[in-house]
């Protein structure tokens, strides 16, 4: 069966520090991968998606970037965090069935 992992589960980082969040999927190949951010009490905002290795599409211009170095690995990065980057970051995958499977999320607090 397929599983999706995210780490770390929680993270507290100072403003201006770098960020690296990792997401890996097991049990499937060539999935579509997505990064979302959810601010407190708000809906999910799609940040990036990828339909294949090295193929990244950005939905919202900001100081974040994403990379997909392997088929089932998706990384979200920032060189310098802002206070507004705080939130709940979710990774998800899908195949041709269109429904998405979400990971457990990373709670990021920028201080």
């Amino acid at each position: 069966s397929q599983t999706i992992h995210q780490w770390p589960a929680t993270l507290v980082q100072p403003v201006g520090s770098p960020l690296s969040l990792e997401c890996t999927v097991e049990g499937t190949s060539n999935p579509n991968l997505y990064w979302y951010r959810q601010a407190a009490g708000r809906g999910l905002q799609l940040l990036f998606y990828s339909v294949g290795i090295g193929q990244i599409s950005s939905e919202v211009p900001q100081n974040l970037s994403a990379s997909r170095p392997q088929d089932r690995q998706f990384i979200l990065s920032s060189k310098k965090l802002l206070l507004s980057d705080s939130g709940f970051y979710l990774c998800a995958w899908s195949r041709q069935g269109a429904k998405q499977y979400f990971g457990p999320g990373t709670r990021l607090t920028v201080t």
Partner: protein
Amino acid sequence: SQKIEQNSEALNIQEGKTATLTCNYTNYSPAYLQWYRQDPGRGPVFLLLIRENEKEKRKERLKVTFDTTLKQSLFHITASQPADSATYLCAPGGRDSSYKLIFGSGTRLLVRP
């Protein structure tokens, strides 16, 4: 720009009643629409998908309707239980192979015992 609207106020109902949640969209012609459940501190979980050529879809106590003329989807939970208390998100999807979704902000459902 595309806009997805869900009632931001919590829906508070008595156990055993039917909960009805609304999702409206504008500036969009989705090929399908999905509904997800999200519990606090957790990622959303897929519930149902309905395609543009389908009027209604059912799964156990859940029912979804999709009216492309009204640009609206209704999500019903019959015989609601306290365990149904959660936030429900609607997410219309497009026609390309990215399968990317635009999520509404969700409606919180509270079922009183």
